[in-house]
């Protein structure tokens, strides 16, 4: 039997289970909850209704439940993988856009890494000046920056004119890279997308590199690792959370990108985001088909976020323990 003394030193029982809700503070969540409900959940619900024809603004089409817009989108039955009879042009655009997005994200991340490395390890005291320079173009409108690329890239633009003046190209002959012109092609779309997102990728990598424990690097070198091996075995693995974050930062928004391909792209560079925009407010209006595409894109983005955040959260937890 425990004595009174023993009882006094017994640790207090840990409070388990859910903490008590304090109703007065619960109200604080109401404005953001209403905001999300009104501007996120409700529009998605409406999109869902449009996607199955329970709402429609097509002339002469009555509101009768139908999965035809979904069937037209998927190239095959998602449950049986049996191909539908018709080809889905929007599905093809989706896969093409995803490929472009992945390539752009990989290239941009690869290019942003040396930039972040330079800022974190080489630029020393001037790193914030360089960081400011890197971010300076972002003080102007995104649209203006893309339009500026039009001036640079068009057939008689700054780049082609300079090459003509220098005699590198014959007059009137526009520059071609990888067998395509530099404007209104995949090249211009990729270039401008890359330009737009490089700083956003460089920033998280820079943050990780700057916070990196330099003693680990010194230790690797003390143990005889070359600079390259130190980078490969120590710096790069430790900076991977930043790389993944940067990759995700460019991947997710570019999957739905429509402004850049509209302004610097051509007939062939039609991206999935443009199709959604066109189906809602463009020249090929069908809110029902557009809703299917929009819901599908949202689902893909949610999966991408869930997949990538799994790595990030794991690393973040490890880092804080």
């Amino acid at each position: 039997m425990a004595t009174a003394e023993e009882a006094s030193v017994r640790p207090a029982r840990r409070r388990v289970g859910r903490p008590r809700l304090r109703p007065a503070k619960g109200w604080l969540a109401l404005p953001p909850a209403l905001y999300l409900l009104g501007l996120l959940i409700l529009p998605i619900a409406l999109l869902s209704l449009y996607s199955v024809f329970l709402l429609t603004n097509l002339i002469g089409v009555t509101n009768v439940f139908s999965l035809s817009a979904w069937q037209d989108f998927f190239p095959s039955n998602p449950f049986t993988w049996k191909p539908w009879s018709t080809e889905s042009v929007f599905w093809n655009r989706f896969t093409l856009s995803m490929c472009v997005t992945l390539i752009v994200s990989l290239v941009v991340t690869t290019m942003a890494y040396p930039l972040a490395y330079f800022l974190a390890f080489v630029s020393e005291r001037r790193r914030y000046v360089f960081l400011f320079i890197l971010l300076a173009p972002f003080f102007t409108s995104f649209l203006l920056r893309v339009l500026a690329w039009q001036v640079m890239l068009n057939d008689s633009g700054v780049i082609n004119s300079a090459l003509w003046q220098l005699g590198i190209l014959s007059d009137g002959q526009p520059l071609e890279i990888f067998g395509m012109g530099i404007f209104r092609t995949w090249f211009s779309v990729g270039l401008v997308l890359g330009y737009s997102w490089i700083p956003f990728v460089a920033l998280p990598i820079f943050v990780v590199l700057e916070n990196m424990d330099r003693r680990v690097i010194e230790a690797a070198q003390d143990l005889g690792a070359s600079r390259f091996m130190t980078f490969l075995r120590v710096t790069l693995p430790l900076s991977l959370p930043g790389v993944i974050a940067g990759f995700v930062f460019v991947l997710i928004p570019t999957t739905g990108e429509f402004v850049t391909p509209q302004l610097v792209g051509g007939t062939d560079t039609y991206m999935f985001g443009q199709a959604i925009q066109d189906l809602f407010i463009g020249t090929a209006i069908s809110w029902n088909t557009g809703s299917v595409l929009a819901i599908w894109l949202m689902a893909v983005v949610v999966v991408l976020i869930a997949f990538s955040s799994r790595f990030l959260v794991m690393d973040l937890r490890e880092g804080t323990e």
């Binding site: 330099r214 430790l238 974050a245 020249t283 069908s286 973040l316 880092g319």
Partner: protein
Amino acid sequence: MDTRMHRRDFLKSSAALGGAALIAGCGSSEGITQNTEAPASTGPVSYGGSIDAEPNKLVISEWPGYEAGGTKAQTYGMLAGTSYTDKYGAKSLKYADIGNDDKVLSAVKAGQKFDLIHPCVGYVEDWAQSGLVQPFDTSLLPSFGNLFPEMIERGKFNGQQYWIPWDWGYSSILYRKDKVDPADAQSWDLFWNPKYKGHISMWDGGSTPLRIAGLLIGAADIDNMTDEELAEAKAKLIEQKKVNKFYWTSEYGDMQPAFKSGDIWITYSWPNDYKDMGNALGFDKVEYMDPKEGKLAWVCGFVMGKDTASPLHAHEYVESFINHDACVDLINLFAYGASDSTVQKSEVKDQKLATKLNIGDPQALEPPVHLEKYIPNRDKYQQIWAEVKAS
């Protein structure tokens, strides 16, 4: 020192990304309601009461450049609308870019409200049938009697005047005379000519490219093509993509700059583009084609929103556009035609242009010109155009 990315750092970066995405993706959200009731009344309408009792405010869905004279948005010095803004003030008018006929019709069907909208003749029946607009009381429009009767007729539905015509013009191919062989420039098929690959720009114009393809495949009625004809037109347009540099969406935003810079030599255009590009490059270098299959043509005008609280203001506004002086100014400013039949050729400043564009000619919109018409199966046209672009 911890070398991993901290949650706070991640959140900071996320916030930066979120902010950027928000800026890039800001758009308006519209309430969604459905109203597809067709109007039943056929009797004459009248709007009583005093104009002073109405709210002095009009929200107008308009083509950029057509904002009333006196407003800040009007940068061309257009006269139309001035008599209204002089009386009621420019601040009483709010404009939204119409985008295109399909877009505004969809937006209004989805619940967006306008007092006045400026659609074209092919959509009059869509609007009237939708129950989203109300008829005008033509007795409140002193200049109404001067308008071309043929155009007035096209604005009638169930015996009521739902649409007041104002501006008209052709649609055809604008091309560079110094780059394109005149022998190649006889037909709409110039858009398909591989000789000019990469220098061609078709309009991202919904049903219009299909109508052009319809002319080339010999469709019986380009505004009501059969499923077989539509399939053929679709294949024709997919073939055109091989030579098309880009589909232009804004005449001032992307088409005219590309034409001026020499990126494109062949483009779909309206008379004002011929005028603008002629002034910029010289009329010896540009030509407005008269295709052997016939030009396309359009007439646009005003419809009045069903729920407008200011119908009398709306009538005054329309009158400030269709009056004689405003119509003369429209012709001189944009090289478009006007619905006022009393405009004399002598009032047009550029006689050469007036002759070229048949301004003032009552036969101007007769065959072989293909004036825009109501398309009964418009949803199919839209679907096919979406598929062509995505193909």
